[in-house]
């Protein structure tokens, strides 16, 4: 009986330690960038160390006092024992399956747009960049939110990086160049994008959805999908690697 209970105790210790490992693994492999805002990395990293410390301290106690009591109040929905298996299984799944950044399918599902609508979480900061070609997609969206008249930006040069989305609403010589913004974690990620008119004679099939591109060009006003809006008249698109940190803030 005691041996069996100690077995459960070791399982508990393993579950807590596995979560500690998982958090530290995400930190060291830079996968945390895909999951949460960098402001809160320290919370996760600290939690990883504390969990490992807890597991270690408990393990030392079990070895030193193998017959010490362990039972106590069981306050949960689950029958006893389920919790530890849920924790262990999830931690193992997390260690085996790598998280992936959201891509164009999610962007289309979440309602991609070039403005931050009222119900959306507002941007954290408005950075007024002097040179238009230094603006990122997110900077452009923020600028447009503040002053939406497209004619005001016509002729300005653009150089932005993002992933390609094929919107069903535009013709074959247009694509959307998009980024996700997160305020806290991937759960609140929402996409922003700018429409791109491809150089003469090119079709969007040449640029696969989800591929990362650097787009150079000029801004112009067009009526696209029944809406008068700002469009990038692209002069050049060049493929780039997916950045370590695919989200913007």
């Amino acid at each position: 009986m005691t041996r069996r209970r100690n077995g459960y105790l070791w399982l508990d210790i393993a579950a807590i330690a596995a979560w500690g490992f998982l958090f530290l693994k995400y930190w060291l492999t830079e996968k945390l960038y895909l999951l949460i805002h960098p402001n809160y990395f320290w919370l996760t990293i600290a939690a990883g160390f504390v969990l490992l410390g807890l597991a270690l301290a408990r393990a030392i106690l079990v070895i030193r006092y193998p017959f010490a009591g362990t039972s106590g109040p069981h306050l949960s929905l689950f029958p006893p024992g389920w919790s530890r298996w849920i924790l262990i299984a999830t931690a193992i799944a997390g260690l085996l399956i790598s998280p992936r950044a959201f891509a164009s399918q999610t962007a289309l599902e979440r309602g991609i747009s070039d403005s931050l609508t009222v119900t959306r979480v507002r941007p954290q900061a408005f950075r007024a960049t002097v040179k238009p070609e230094n603006r990122s997609i997110v900077d452009w969206t923020r600028t447009l939110t503040v002053y939406p008249e497209p004619d005001a930006y016509t002729g300005q040069s653009v150089s932005v990086k993002g992933f390609v989305v094929h919107s069903p609403e535009t013709g074959p010589n247009y694509l959307l160049i998009a980024r996700f913004i997160i305020t806290c974690c991937a759960a609140d990620a929402y996409p922003v994008s700018l429409p791109v008119k491809l150089p003469e004679g090119q079709r969007r099939d040449a640029y696969k959805p989800d591929s990362w591109q650097q787009v150079e060009g000029q801004m112009r006003t067009e009526t696209l999908a029944g809406k008068r809006q700002l469009v990038i008249q692209a002069t050049a698109l060049s493929p780039v690697d997916e950045p370590k940190n695919p989200y913007d803030y």
């Binding site: 109040p73 849920i86 309602g111 759960a187």
Partner: protein
């Protein structure tokens, strides 16, 4: 395509956990440390006698015992057994999961961009908990509402250690303490504090051992619930057709009802529920997010299970109805007039 969605759901699930687990850990550490190092009975002397003020004071005790809705039930139960007036205990039961520094901080991090959500959450929780505590004060004798073992414990408990096993009866979700040898266990601790024998006066080594033990247990049990809640949230977000969610989420009344139902079902811990709510922030009305954040910590499936260890089903039903109606009215007010 579907594999892609599965992967998205998994990423979302992990992101909720990576963000929420540190807060759960913090809650567990706080509740364990305070359980062992703060003498809750010395609080009693400071409590006001007036039922309304008592309910308000009870609602604010959470600032000293930062527990989520899983931790407040044992504390409220202990308070009742120690003869704390019922408005105080009920105010505490309903408000403590929200009115405490950790939840405040977590909500602030999640809703930094909508500070009104953070402050209205606190204001509504305080108002509702105080009102319900006040309403319950009209019942001068609370015993008919309580489970027999709690009711019996109220007057007779002190100085009757032989009564201790009644805490461990089946149906109250306590694991029986068995073959524990000479060492003191967490179960001992609970019995001891219920029996007004202070744990705070135990030797430091024992306290540290119990602290570790208590933290491991809470972490295991609540961690499991958190994992399940995050899985449900991620699945709903990824697999529910967007237009269904949007049509529900934009109606001033339907959005509130949907979020209250969701709050009751997912039973997510109040230290981390703001991150969960945040994932709905772009599609649901502000009032409905508030309804989720205020109602969830008071009443949910998990908490109902726990509350039944204190109250008879009838009393839990009253609590549920009162809290539900008040939350609905206040959130509707927000939807119609404030946003």
């Amino acid at each position: 395509m579907d594999l892609n969605r599965l992967n998205n759901a998994f990423t979302l699930f992990l992101s909720l956990l990576v963000e929420a687990m540190p807060f759960l850990l913090l809650g567990v550490i706080f509740s364990s440390v305070l359980l062992f190092f703060v003498e809750e009975r010395s609080l009693l002397r400071w409590l006001p006698k007036n039922p309304l003020l008592g309910a308000l004071a009870g609602s604010c005790i959470g600032f000293l015992f930062p527990v989520c809705e899983c931790g407040n039930v044992p504390v409220a139960r202990r308070l009742l057994m120690q003869g704390v007036p019922s408005p105080v205990a009920i105010g505490f039961l309903l408000a403590a999961p929200t009115i405490n520094p950790i939840v405040f901080w977590a909500t602030w991090i999640a809703f930094r961009d909508q500070p009104e959500v953070v402050f209205l959450r606190i204001a509504f929780s305080l108002t509702i908990a105080t009102m319900i505590g006040w309403i319950f004060s009209t019942q001068s004798n609370l015993r008919p509402f309580l489970q027999p073992n709690v009711a019996r414990a109220m007057p007779l408990w002190a100085g009757e250690p032989s009564d201790a096993p009644s805490l461990l009866r089946p149906g109250t979700y306590w694991l029986g303490a068995s073959e524990r040898g000479n060492r003191v266990t967490v179960a001992d601790l609970q019995v001891a504090s219920a029996a007004s024998v202070s744990v705070v006066s135990k030797p430091l080594a024992d306290k540290l051992y119990l602290l570790l033990e208590n933290m491991m247990q809470e972490l295991r049990e609540l961690g499991g619930v958190l994992v399940l809640g995050s899985a449900i949230a991620a699945t709903i977000q990824v697999f529910t057709p967007r237009d269904v969610v949007l049509s529900l989420g934009q109606g001033p009344v339907t959005s509130i009802l949907a979020m209250m139902l969701l709050a009751a079902i997912v039973s997510i811990c109040s230290t981390v529920d703001s991150f969960f709510a945040l994932s709905f922030a772009s599609t649901f009305t502000t009032g409905s997010l508030l309804a989720f954040l205020v109602f969830g910590p008071m009443i949910d499936l998990k908490a109902i299970g726990l509350m039944l260890s204190i109250f008879k089903p009838r009393a839990v039903f009253y609590l549920f109805m009162l809290a539900g109606q008040l939350v609905f009215l206040l959130s509707l007010f927000v939807n119609l007039y404030l946003s």
